[in-house]
């Protein structure tokens, strides 16, 4: 174990190799992008509710600008908010601390990972400045549209590279290189740097889930990158990989995209479930119910995630017989998730539940994710998907999976580990207010969309006035309510910002273990110094020994105490 020296300003705050600081860099960058992505959503929802509104800084949205905003909203929320916060930010913070390690296995690789991510963010921003503006062909980037839009086949390749679509593809590819480096670190650290005595089943669920997510990501990203490179070549070198007139096949891209795209959902979802699996036992003062089986089921779901991808393509023109297979696997994936869900609920029964803000956000995740989970069955049924595909029903469904995962579980994690990261508690009152306003805004925005989706309102339409049924009064009302909900959701985040600033500067001092939690990160000081632990902790038991009758005088039993 190397000694940890005093660091200069640059090596501490900019090119930091400290996993905790890199985690903060990822989280803060991710939160900034989440806010930008949210504002994009408010902008295009405003156009939907009140077509022709002059939106500050953007102007009146025409079809092109509208498509640009929806495309980049999705891209940003997934790759520059969801992944950096839930995978890179959370993983970097909790993995070494929860394993009792002094840092990641490869700290310099870790630093490189963040700065490559930073480059990808710069490329993303540059893509908006390219002539013609940002990419506007949908976040799934389906060719031939996305192989053509903004491209001049006769121009030199640099001209075609300097377009929104090409730069966005490049940005995504660079971002994935960064996440791959991070992923290598996660896996190597988790396998090799666990505290003395920590068996694999003593590793906390959240670390398991982050590693499963990493495995899903690493095994699925290759096909996507190759697909993206071919798309980029179609754009800049005028190749015809996806051009049917020249022997190419547009559906090929969809397979490569979704072979990655579906596991990618689990990349965001699994860490979220892991977070909740840490928080619920802690605030219920009870062991995580059937914790071993939760890990087994999560592993199973991480594998099944690789054989469901074509459920995004039921109506894309694939051989219809394939849909039968993918429909079955998709619906069966509800089984492992139902198990985990039931087990987390069972964890709370006969506990002593204290609803502090982290627990409140975790409960919010459970309630709202349940809506997203059950509505997934509708979309996964090929026989029904041929109607609801690409309608607002699907939009509502995935916002009920991703917002609970990224927002609710992510904020649960933020409130839970904030005291460890900064040494100060977050403000409970502000936190609860923020929770309730966020919940109201979110449900106002997402829930009505189920109904307009069932009615057949299809997505990515900048102005519904061409469609008579979509101009019915109740549909217009739904668009108003959803837009106001989105505005409330965005505005509520100001409370979070205030809470973070106030708490980080003048919050109550946290001490080492404010939540009376068992896992090893609570053994370190708050905030932990560079190098984390004064003496490397040993591990004697699993992480969920709450209210164990063998332990007298305390309702928790830290992993490092004999």
């Amino acid at each position: 174990m190397s000694a940890h020296h005093e660091q200069s300003f640059i090596s501490k705050y900019v090119f930091s190799i400290d996993h905790k600081y890199i985690a903060k860099q990822y989280t803060v960058t991710g939160m900034i992008f989440a806010f930008i992505g949210g504002l994009f959503a408010v902008a295009f929802r405003t156009q939907l509710a009140w077509p022709g509104t002059n939106i500050p800084f953007i102007g009146v949205l025409d079809g092109m600008k509208y498509n640009m905003l929806v495309t980049n909203h999705a891209m940003i929320m997934f790759f520059w908010a969801g992944m950096p916060i839930l995978l890179a930010g959370l993983g970097n913070f909790v993995i070494p601390l929860m394993l009792g390690a002094d840092d990641m296995a490869f700290p310099k690789l870790n630093m490189l990972s963040y700065w490559i991510f930073f480059v990808s963010a710069v490329l993303l921003i540059l893509s908006f400045m390219a002539p013609g503006g940002g990419a506007a062909g949908g976040w799934t980037m389906y060719p031939p549209l996305n192989a053509q839009q903004g491209v001049d086949p006769d121009a030199n390749f640099l001209v075609n590279l300097w377009t929104g679509g090409s730069l966005l593809i490049l940005a995504v590819a660079v971002e994935f290189a960064s996440m791959l480096l991070g992923g290598i670190n996660f896996l190597v650290t988790s396998l090799n740097m666990r505290a003395k005595g920590m068996k694999l089943m003593d590793v906390p669920a959240v670390v398991w889930m982050i590693n499963l997510a990493t495995v899903d990501f690493m095994f699925s990203v290759g096909p996507l990158i190759s697909g993206a490179v071919m798309l980029l070549f179609d754009r800049i070198f005028n190749t015809g990989f996806y051009d049917p007139a020249r022997g190419g096949d547009p559906i090929l891209f969809q397979h490569l995209f979704w072979f990655f795209g579906h596991p990618e959902v689990y990349v965001v979802l699994l860490p979220a479930i892991g977070i909740v699996a840490e928080i619920v036992p802690t605030f219920s003062r009870k062991p995580l119910f059937a914790s071993r089986w939760i890990i087994i089921m999560a592993t199973a779901s991480a594998f099944i995630a690789f054989i469901v991808w074509a459920h995004h393509q039921f109506v894309a023109g694939i051989d219809p017989r394939m849909a039968e297979f993918f429909s079955i696997t998709t619906i069966i994936i509800s089984v492992p998730f139902a198990f985990i869900f039931f087990a987390v609920i069972a964890t709370m029964f006969k506990g002593q539940i204290e609803v502090k803000t982290p627990m409140l956000w975790a409960l919010g995740f459970l309630v709202f994710f349940l809506v997203g989970g059950v509505t997934g069955i509708f979309n996964g049924s090929a026989g029904l998907d041929m109607y609801i595909h690409d309608t607002y029903f699907v939009i509502a469904h995935f916002h009920y999976t991703l917002i609970p995962a990224v927002f609710f579980a992510g904020l649960a994690a933020l409130h839970f580990w904030f005291p460890k990261a900064t040494g100060r508690m977050m403000n409970e009152t502000l936190g609860k207010l923020h929770f309730w306003i966020t919940s109201i805004g979110f449900n106002m925005f997402a829930f009505p969309l189920f109904f307009s989706g069932l009615y057949g309102e299809h997505r990515r339409i900048f102005n519904y006035s061409s469609y008579q049924p979509m101009m019915a009064d109740w549909i217009i009302n739904i668009r108003h309510v959803a837009t106001i909900g989105a505005m409330i959701l965005a505005a509520a985040q100001v409370l979070l910002f205030i809470n973070i600033i106030l708490s980080a500067t003048s919050g109550e001092k946290a001490g080492k273990n404010p939540w009376k939690c068992n896992t090893l990160e609570w053994v370190a000081d708050s905030p932990p110094p560079h190098g984390n632990f004064a003496t490397p902790p040993s591990c004697y038991r699993g992480p969920y020994e709450y209210s164990n009758p063998k332990r007298s005088g305390s309702d928790f039993w830290p992993q490092n105490e004999q």
């Binding site: 119910f289 914790s291 039931f342």
Partner: protein
Amino acid sequence: MSFLPEAYSSVAADIYGVFYLIFYIVGIWFVVTLGALFYGVFTSLKKQGGKAQYITGDDWAQSKWIWIPLILVFMCDLLIDVKTANVWTKVEIAEKMPQNDYDVKIVGRQFQWEFTYPGPDGKLFTEDDIQIADGNDGELVLPVGKITKLHLTAADVLHSFFVREFGFKQDVIPGRILTRWVEPIKEGRIELTCAEICGPNHGTMRNWVKVVSQEEFNSFIKNLNSGKKVAMATK
């Protein structure tokens, strides 16, 4: 649920049937699970001097409380799988496609739909085919109660053939012709939209489907063949 549009095709009711089956099954699960969640939370709130029970869920006596519901979930999944596969097979699988009465070719093009009917020889994909390309006013005219085979393709980028009252959509792909079928069960004029983003004016890519009686359809075809700019196709 009245949110689903009125059915204009023979398969829409089957497709909606999948919706209702799933709705009732997952509706019950949703209510039960949410009930258990809230019951668990509100009966287990922290009490002064209270003590949490040490329940690990490792033995069957405890874990049966989630294994048994899980088996039920699995059985419900299978039920849904069977139902959805049946409907999918009926609508989409080529071998199950019923014998058709008419053919029409449908082309998606930025940003309109175009329709091609067989010419005087009554066969599609021959020299004398007649195309209707009327911008966004073009109508796909179909006879009620008869089965029409739809030969779907695209001219430039991906589009998606979506008539909400028919209950299904189908992406169309340049360079490929996909075959689907429809049997309209109700006369009327409904919207044909594009459900796959296809460029800046994707949001205005709307044409019409006009379901007419057999007599009207016959005269439409007759007018089409005699080269008259069909009066009824425009309004």
